[in-house]
């Protein structure tokens, strides 16, 4: 009876304790620098897609990139690149204080000559760009809104 008790009750409890204590999986943190305070400010980009006569979702956000200098911006050597979405308007970048250049791109997806008529060079998949600068200050949020030409 005692053996049975050991087998049915105590062993599973001991095994369970080993599971809890001994099998703690190694968790790889997402951010290895987590916990270390960095000196940053925030650049907030309100990425508005300008209104046009084209149907909704025929002109969409395509790119939002940050570079430290104008030269790096033109060369495509970006400091950060945002994942842009149709449904997201405001994008934030945590950056060390300093001056930054940003570029925002929109792309036309309409068929026929609608894109050319709307001022997108090359027709379908033609793009428009807005470029600007922003100065990021420690512990502050600077807000910019890229402006596209018609």
């Amino acid at each position: 009876m005692f053996k049975l008790m050991i087998k049915r009750i105590l062993l599973p409890i001991v095994a369970g304790m080993f599971q809890i204590v001994g099998c703690d999986p190694t968790v790889i943190p997402d951010d290895p620098d987590e916990g270390t305070k960095k000196i940053v400010g925030t650049l907030e980009v309100e990425f508005r897609v300008p209104a046009s006569y084209l149907p909704a979702n025929r002109v969409v956000r395509a790119d939002l990139s940050i570079a430290k200098t104008a030269e790096e911006l033109y060369k495509g050597h970006f400091y950060q690149v945002a994942n842009v979405y149709n449904s997201k308007l405001v994008y934030t970048f945590d950056l060390p204080p300093g001056n930054y250049y940003y570029q925002a791109g929109i792309v036309c997806l309409a068929s026929g000559d609608s894109c050319s008529a709307a001022g997108f060079p090359g027709g379908k998949y033609g793009m428009k760009w807005a470029i600007g600068t922003a100065t990021v200050v420690e512990d502050e949020t600077v807000h910019v809104t890229p402006q596209f030409t018609r």
Binding site: D63, H77, F78, V84, V107, M127
Partner: protein, 337 residues
């Protein structure tokens, strides 16, 4: 009194049982109808019995399949009226993964069938040797619509430490679970020969809420570096270039959800869950999935540079976004990203 206890002990504690009980030869059926494919497959095997320790000796291939006549058919129904009938044919085109079980005689049954959304499907398998019909029913899922990523290659994907990507899609009626699979594509050059390769990175399953307008899954940029580190080996002379990234979003019917839950590791030492089945006269799962592939997307230059020079991946031989390993291209602040 002692004698009575001894007698009781010797008679009542018998642990004898017949280890050579008859093999029931229970059919095991797996069929996951894919609404995004035109060919459907059924896998049919059976339970087996061997005289040796079952976990040490794999079975003979013949003992895992039914002999004799096997007829696999499927019907599509609407309002209990059969609209279409499909006959499955045996095929050995798809090789079985290596492992404990033998890979030879891996017979699947296939049929050309476009699965209509929101329809009822019935599977019948006639086993001549057992004079038995195995039966199951499922309902196909509706169309899966993925919102993000958009199938737009100009829109670069940024995945690095501090930049995650959010996959979003509209809920599918009657779906029980969802999964996102990220495929990282790269080229590997070894001794002057370049080979395209990929790494599939499956995300955790997602079970839908009751009133979600959209469902989403965050793909961790930091985790990608660990996935590459775990999947690839650093080798002298091997050069790798990042080619791009694909996304596969899948929704599965509720039977799959129940099956996945029943086969998940048990919580607690004393619990043992029975494995879910919806196969009548057998074991296994008959269910449906709907999937959307968004392929041919590119990673942003920052993501490629973080793979080339990042803490966990710098020894894997990846070139940066300019196509070289010149450390002068390495952004000074990369470690901050």
């Amino acid at each position: 009194m002692v004698a009575v206890l001894l007698m009781a002990g010797s008679y009542s504690c018998s642990t004898e049982f017949d280890i050579n009980a008859d093999n029931l030869e229970t059919p095991i059926v797996y069929c996951i109808l894919n609404t995004s494919d035109t060919i459907q497959y059924v896998r049919l095997q059976k339970t087996y019995l061997i005289d040796q320790a079952a976990l040490e000796y794999p079975p003979h291939p013949d003992s895992m399949v039914f002999p004799g006549e096997i007829v696999v058919t499927m019907e599509r129904l609407q309002d209990n009226v059969v609209l279409e009938t499909y006959r499955f044919q045996p095929t050995t085109d798809i090789k079985k993964d290596t492992g404990f079980f033998p890979t030879e005689k891996h017979v699947l049954y296939m049929a050309k069938a476009v699965i209509k959304p929101n329809s009822v499907y019935r599977l019948y398998i006639y086993l001549g040797s057992k004079e038995k019909v195995v039966y199951a029913q499922t309902s196909s899922l509706g169309k899966l619509t993925v919102v993000d990523p958009l199938n737009l290659s100009i829109r670069k994907i940024s995945l690095y430490n501090g930049s995650n990507f959010t996959c979003r899609w509209e809920p599918v009626e009657d779906a029980g679970l969802y999964q996102v699979v990220v495929r990282f594509r790269y080229n590997e050059t070894r001794n002057g020969i370049t080979t395209p390769k990929f790494i599939n990175w499956s995300q955790d399953y997602i079970t839908p809420g009751t009133s979600d307008e959209y469902l989403s899954k965050d793909i961790s940029g930091a985790r990608l570096a660990h996935i590459l580190d775990e999947s690839l080996v650093s080798e002298a002379g091997v050069v790798r270039t990042v080619e791009g990234i694909d996304f596969q979003v899948m929704s599965g019917a509720v039977e799959l959800k129940y099956f996945m839950e029943s086969t998940a590791p048990t919580e607690g030492a004393l619990m043992e869950k029975p494995v879910y089945t919806n196969i009548i006269n057998g074991l296994g799962v008959f269910s449906t999935i709907s999937e959307v592939d968004i392929s041919g997307l590119f990673l942003s230059g920052v993501s490629i540079d973080s793979i080339a020079y990042g803490q966990y991946t710098r020894d894997l031989g990846f070139l940066d976004h300019t196509g070289d390993r010149d450390s002068t291209n390495e952004p000074l602040e990369l470690e901050e990203l």
